[in-house]
């Protein structure tokens, strides 16, 4: 099965957020669930079981300048094995305009025994755009060993012309510039490879026996960092990135503990508007 849904949000002349495109593509169904002013909230609704092996699903998101889009999901995604060839894939592509914000906060992805799933996200932020991005992985349903999963998250930030003059930002020749006005800088590139075939995956470098692994990325200018008692807690750490933003990363034995650990640090932070 191949499906690509689309969602486009922008501000109208009066500063109110409008959904200019909402294109569900079974089984990726989008429902508007709330929002007011410059905020739009939607939820993803799984319209079929799975994803199953071979499925190639995706969601394209565009958030216009100044608009805020909150994306949730009504339930966890369960990646299942199937008869299709190759892994199942879910790809998110998002662009956020200047002063805009994307909060991508879906429920966890559960990787059932025997499943082979890929979770790919490519996000570009204009200068001054904000991103809150949560990824939670649970290996296996109750009591079963997990299947195989690869996640790949790339976040690039466009530097507005003339602003990006920090010492490290001298390299302009990467061929890495896109549609925007300024050069793109890599903010985060993170892959996670899990599964019975991955060397040392349950060992003390990678999961250390944990069944649940996740992170919350906050990209953009933040407040609340100084008020945190400690950037490190039980099974969780807050890591300031080289660019504007922090990554909160956590491990746990179950999904509820994972969420609690992520929220303990990421929940204390908000964007500096």
């Amino acid at each position: 099965m191949r499906a690509r849904a689309g969602l486009r949000v922008g501000l109208d002349g009066g500063g109110t957020a409008r959904v200019t495109e909402l294109r569900s593509a079974t089984p990726v169904l989008i429902r508007r669930t709330g929002g007011s002013g410059n905020v739009v909230e939607v939820h993803l609704v799984g319209g079929a079981g799975g994803p199953l092996a071979g499925d190639d699903l995706g969601l394209d998101i565009a958030v216009g300048a100044g608009a805020v889009l909150v994306v949730g999901s009504v339930a966890a995604t369960v990646a299942l094995p199937g008869r299709g060839t190759g892994p199942s894939t879910f790809t998110v592509r998002a662009e956020v305009g200047a002063g805009g914000e994307l909060a991508f906060l879906p429920e966890p992805t559960i990787v059932a025994r025997g499943a082979r799933h890929r979770l790919i996200s490519r996000i570009t932020l204009a200068a001054g755009a904000r991103l809150r991005y949560r990824e939670e992985i649970l290996l296996g349903r109750f009591g079963e060993p997990g299947g195989s999963l690869t996640t790949s998250l790339h976040v690039d930030v466009e530097a507005s012309a003339g602003v990006d003059a920090s010492a490290d930002a001298t390299g302009a020749g990467s061929g890495n510039t896109g549609a925007g006005s300024g050069r793109r800088r890599a903010l985060l590139r993170q892959e996670l490879r899990l599964g019975p075939e991955v060397p040392g995956v349950h060992g003390p470098a990678v999961l250390a026996g944990a069944r649940a692994v996740g992170s919350v990325l906050l990209a953009g200018p933040l407040t609340g960092l100084d008020a945190l008692a400690s950037p490190v807690g039980d099974g969780v750490a807050l890591m300031p990135l080289r660019g504007p933003g922090v990554l909160v990363s956590a491990l746990a034995d179950d999904g509820l503990t994972l969420r609690r650990r992520l929220d303990a640090l990421a929940g204390a932070l908000s964007f500096d508007h």
Binding site: D168, G171, S174, A186, E191, R193, A205, M239, P240
Partner: protein, 239 residues
């Protein structure tokens, strides 16, 4: 890379051994690659858990470092071959450094990598014809690629040196931290050696792609350990 070799040409090999030698005065002994924090937290207790740690480290941080060492080595060699020697080497290296920054969310690991890169560059400037425009404190894997090129080595040699370093230093630290039998730890490293070769070969192949798509494997527990270690009051190793 493999230009027609002149009769009597001998491929550079000894420089690779020198670069990979733990006795190279490049500050490697001050870093445990997360082993100290893992020992303190009880996650590494002996040979078996050390071996699992090293396998996981090799498949994540090791693959990443090896790919960047290979890519940087290739980029430096092709820049050096250009007619105009000033063709943007600093820009190219800054771009690779930025890509490594984006793959290293842990500030403690970024600092450790830059410190080891700086120490390696200090040795290399004395030992090999490093380009004068090379940065003072690049990431360690970027420095390895640079130095490999300066020493006349191939990109795959840079990859092998980086993959080797990703497990060798941490294993040596484990010997000191846990009082493990050095002979037995060498046995563990010998067992992993084939995986080091495979990782270097995979990295070298992956390094041919665009920098943005180079390997970016993360090791979540290693990140947590690194951040905790940074705040530890008593520690033998810097990282």
């Amino acid at each position: 890379m493999d230009a027609v070799q002149k009769p009597g040409h001998v491929e550079a090999r000894a420089a690779l051994l020198l670069l990979a030698d733990g006795r190279l005065p490049a500050g490697g002994h001050a870093h445990s690659g997360g082993v100290e924090a893992a020992v303190v937290s009880g996650a590494i207790t002996g040979l078996d858990s050390l071996a699992e740690f090293l396998r996981g480290r090799l498949a994540t941080a090791g693959l990443l470092a090896a790919a960047f060492a290979s890519a940087v080595c290739r980029a430096v060699r092709s820049t050096a071959a250009d007619a105009d020697p000033a063709t943007g080497l600093p820009d190219v290296l800054a771009m690779f450094d930025e890509e490594v920054d984006a793959r290293t969310p842990s500030p403690a690991q970024r600092d450790a990598s830059r410190a080891q890169g700086r120490a390696l560059m200090r040795v290399a400037r004395v030992a090999w014809p490093v380009p004068p425009s090379a940065p003072a404190a690049p990431h360690h894997c970027v420095a390895l690629g640079l130095v490999a090129a300066a020493a006349g080595l191939e990109p795959r040699d840079g990859a092998l040196a980086a993959a080797h370093a990703s497990v060798n230093g941490p294993a040596a630290a484990a010997v000191r931290l846990l009082g493990l039998d050095p002979l037995a730890v060498t046995g563990v490293l010998a067992e992993i050696a084939a995986a080091v070769d495979r990782t270097a070969a995979m990295a070298d192949a992956a390094a041919l792609g665009p920098a943005a798509d180079l390997p970016a494997g993360s090791a979540p527990h290693l990140d947590l350990l690194s951040e905790r270690h940074r705040t530890a009051q008593v520690r033998m190793f810097t990282s």
